[in-house]
Symmetry: C2
């Protein structure tokens, strides 16, 4: 592996690596704009709502959310600030551990998420998933697992 470090990427390696970067950059940009245009929601905001929607009582601790969303703890705090400002989420002190806070979906947040979901699912399927058959989707997930165990969970 030593001198390997010096050899530039060959065409095959470039295709696998740069392709990954380019596809990610374009897809995320497009999905973000699409969500923003249709529902005034950022992609990260959508993900927060998604996890809250799936959680019992529509609420989750800030620290749990931070683990799910691809964002730092403080980044999540700022994002939830905006969601609270927009009335999609509110905060609730934990009863058992008064250091902790829940972020909780409001009825308006639930509606916003449900509306945005159709747009987003269509976007992800049209631009990404529809390009692969089932075996290829499984293969991709398996590759992600190899790079980062738990990534596709």
């Amino acid at each position: 592996m030593s001198a390997q470090g010096e050899r530039p990427l060959d065409a095959r390696e470039l295709g696998a690596w740069r392709g990954f970067l380019r596809v990610h950059a374009r897809l995320v940009r497009e999905l973000d704009r699409e969500l923003q245009a249709a529902h005034g929601l950022q992609l990260h905001a959508y993900e927060v709502l998604l996890f809250l929607d799936g959680a019992p009582g529509g609420r989750l601790r800030m620290s749990e959310l931070a683990d799910s969303v691809l964002l730092s703890q403080s980044g999540l705090t700022r994002l939830v600030d905006r969601l609270v400002r927009d009335g999609l989420v509110d905060r609730e002190r934990c009863d058992d551990d008064r250091r902790g806070l829940y972020a909780r979906l409001t009825p308006a947040g639930r509606r916003a998420f449900r509306a945005a979901r159709a747009t987003h699912l269509r976007g992800v399927r049209d631009r990404f998933l529809s390009r692969f058959d089932e075996a290829e989707q499984d293969a991709l997930a398996e590759l992600w697992e190899r790079v980062e165990p738990g990534a596709s969970r």
Copy 2:
């Protein structure tokens, strides 16, 4: 495709899509930190140097660079500002079209790139490419092409 939009992602789709997002988020963060720690270079800055290093005369028009790097035109201007400030790049007016500017690698920029390259190549291979055999790398590149023609070029 219509009602499809409403059906949440199944386990297979989730694995392929969320895995992609998670792996990208972690990899880019780690590679960026690594480059920053070892050479004071940001990942985007590395890419600029990479393209300049490969260009004849070590220089490229700003607009050409913006097409290669995953960055907006103005984002590139700011980044090159910083590289100029750090002495790794300088700017040169085009002779034939005086609206245009070249960004050109300085000797220090060339040295910085060569030094950073070993670190970065090792990082990309260790964390990503080494997880796949040659056939899998080809397969990945082919999948990226399907999502975005030219992505792996």
